[in-house]
């Protein structure tokens, strides 16, 4: 199993797209921090990359890689290897390789330029989002036999979680503004991993505003130690649930 995992990691790391992805992230973050003398503005630009670009690349790359490895997976299945370890190896390989790209591209400059605690939150957010979208991509792969449909589904999921979801929540909020919807709003945002990542970074850079009345509930729910912990758990659920769901489907699938 270890052999398969290392093989996949090496295979992905050699992939030109991943190298290009690393370089692009690197270029983005270095240019942001060296051009912008205002660090908190730099973090903001970076936040948009982490919330939009990183999930998009992760989900599409992982998905296409899965489809391209269909024959390889079939070959492995015919060997005396457990299906769960094949699936585990694929997941680990993808997650490790893409996270490595993220850490080299964004992690290093972030650690160099911004406050260590904020940097840690930003990096953790990026790593969790990458892993979540790899897990989602594998679910899409197993749900759709057709490659076009699978990629379509993963892009749709990204579009929904990254862009549309907030619009819907905003719409919901305006419609029901007269009612006590605080708890529902918090729950709705906590469901979406992209929102959770954004809120954690927000707690670092807009801390003064969040100490006020507007942020009181916010700070209480997300800013405390239990808040951080809960957000982390919610994001882990987003990794674990799609992964085990896809694993179950893979185990029983007639390839």
């Amino acid at each position: 199993m270890k052999g398969i995992t290392t093989f996949i990691i090496k295979d992905i790391l050699k992939n030109r797209i991943v190298i290009l992805y690393t370089l692009i992230l690197c270029g983005f973050s270095w240019s942001i921090f060296s051009l912008e003398d205002n660090v908190s503005k730099g973090i903001l630009s970076l936040l948009n990359i982490i919330l939009l670009i990183v999930p998009l690349v992760s989900v599409i790359f992982a998905n296409i890689y899965m489809y391209n490895s269909t024959e390889f997976i079939e070959l492995l299945v015919s060997q005396p290897v457990k299906r769960s370890s094949i699936w585990y190896a694929m997941f680990t390989g993808l997650a490790v390789a893409l996270n490595a790209a993220f850490l080299i591209g964004i992690g290093i400059p972030v650690l160099l330029f911004i406050h260590p605690l904020t940097a840690l939150v930003v990096i953790l957010a990026g790593v969790l989002l990458t892993t979540i979208f790899v897990s989602v991509a594998m679910l899409c792969f197993i749900l759709m036999r057709d490659k076009a449909k699978g990629i379509g589904l993963s892009i749709m999921l990204w579009l929904f979680l990254s862009l549309m979801y907030d619009g819907l929540v905003l719409f919901f909020m305006f419609q029901f503004a007269d009612y006590p919807i605080e708890k529902i709003m918090v729950l709705l945002t906590a469901i979406n991993p992209v929102d959770l990542a954004r809120i954690q970074v927000l707690l670092q850079i807009d801390v003064a505003a969040l100490m006020g009345y507007t942020g009181a509930i916010f700070k209480k729910l997300f800013g405390t130690q239990t808040g951080y912990f809960t957000s982390f758990i919610f994001m882990l659920v987003w990794i674990v649930v799609p992964y085990f769901f896809s694993l179950r489907l893979f185990k029983n699938k007639d390839l």
Binding site: D166, V169, M173, E182, T189, L202, A209, G212, T214, A216
Partner: protein, 414 residues
């Protein structure tokens, strides 16, 4: 001629006579007096009392003569948590170099560590005030210098503790270089006029670092207000000048760097507002010049209510604030000009240092948050950013003429 010289000589001796008579009285272990009270009984106008290091628990010490009290090596005067410690009830008193501690607490009487009653020409200097109810209390004072005192209290609840330097109905005070910590209000002024507050540090007080009301013609220069419960509040006052002060770390629900309420004709110049929830809050404030200040890393830089008129906000730096400006109405009677806004995204083709398109400092989302606080949850999400950008280009909710016509492209070096 000889007669005249003789008369002059007589006059000279008569004049110097009183000076010569002014004597020094020493108090302390092994000295001629063991208690300050005894020394005060002996003293006449113009005498100097030297008090040496020891612990003096003598109840309420009343100074009702024109004398100089000098503490050698910080003698400790203790109020035993029952009494007002030192009461100054005479003009021309100098009180220097003491440690005054543990004044009584009263819910009816404002007991002070050092309290001045209806007196003038007083110097209170280089004292340490520890754990008093009110530390320095000036009641109907005139020409008083309060300098380099270290004031510290350990208040927990607002009702249980008084103010650090409390001044009531006074005139021509100089409050210079004091450190105040842990009181209710660091410096409190009510009906105090023509006074200067210079180089004080007021930190971690329960309510306000500085609080004044009905105190016209005062100047606040080079003070630091840090981490006070609700920042600084100034109300119902005319002609105040605030230069080069630092207001920082006032974070919380109703905390402000400065809260201005019903203030007119003031000058707020060269101050630094750092990491406050709301840096500067203006309500009913008129004709105020806000110039060359730095607003950095605050939640809200400027909260300017619609009932403020003819204020000029110019040449300030707004850097790294979550929201630079917010307001509660659509009426704009104030002028924003030539400020630096780090959120400005314009250009300068004619190279005159000012951006060619005006900047709209109002963020539409701060409007939304004002009404739906929970909307903060979605702040900086893609949809909200989109909403903000559209509003910036085509203002529909925010007032169109709320703008800076000459936004600077590079920050002022302030």
């Amino acid at each position: 001629m000889k007669d005249l010289t003789y008369h002059f000589l007589v006059l000279f001796f008569v004049l110097t006579h009183t000076v010569v008579l002014a004597k020094n009285i020493h108090v302390g272990p092994g000295k001629e007096n063991r208690s300050i009270r005894a020394a005060l009984l002996l003293a006449k106008d113009g005498d100097t009392i030297f008090v040496y290091h020891s612990l003096y628990k003598e109840g309420n010490i009343i100074i009702n003569k024109k004398i100089t009290m000098i503490g050698v090596d910080y003698p400790v005067i203790d109020g035993d948590k029952k009494f007002e410690v030192v009461s100054i009830k005479s003009d021309n008193v100098i009180f220097r170099g003491f440690q005054v501690q543990n004044s009584g607490y009263g819910s009816l009487n404002d007991l002070g560590g050092i309290k001045v009653y209806d007196a003038g020409n007083i110097i209170i200097e280089n004292n340490i005030l520890e754990n008093n109810f009110f530390s320095i209390y000036i009641n109907f004072g005139k020409n008083i210098l309060i300098k380099n005192n270290k004031i510290r209290a350990y208040g927990i609840e607002e009702q249980q503790i008084g103010n650090g330097i409390h001044c009531w109905k006074s005139d021509s005070l100089q409050i210079i270089g004091n450190h105040i910590q842990g009181h209710r209000d660091g410096i409190y002024f009510e009906f105090v006029t023509h006074s200067i507050i210079w180089r004080n540090v007021s930190r971690f007080n329960i309510r306000y670092g500085l609080h004044f009301m009905f105190s016209n013609d005062d100047a606040y220069i080079n003070n630091v207000f840090d981490g006070n419960g609700a920042g600084v509040a100034v109300m119902y006052t005319k002609k105040v000048t605030m230069y080069n002060n630092t207001f920082k770390n006032s974070t919380g629900d109703a905390s402000y760097g400065i809260l201005l309420k019903e203030i007119s004709d003031a000058e707020i110049v060269g101050n630094r507002f750092l990491s406050n929830t709301s840096a500067l809050f203006l309500e009913g404030a008129n004709r105020i010049m806000i110039k060359k200040n730095v607003f950095s890393n605050n939640g809200w830089g400027l909260k300017i209510q619609a009932n403020c008129m003819e204020n000029v906000i110019s040449q300030n730096n707004f850097i790294g604030n979550t929201f630079d400006v917010s307001t509660n109405g659509s009426l704009v009677l104030n002028k924003f000009d030539k400020n630096y806004w780090d959120k400005y995204e314009g250009y300068d083709l004619d190279k005159d240092m000012y951006g060619d398109i005006p900047f709209h400092p109002l963020n539409v989302y701060s409007f939304i948050i004002e009404n739906n606080p929970i909307a903060m949850l979605l702040f900086r999400s893609f949809m909200v950013t989109l909403l903000e950008k559209t509003e910036k280009l085509i203002p529909s909710i925010t007032p169109e003429d709320f703008r800076d016509d000459h936004p600077l492209l590079k920050a002022y070096s302030l």
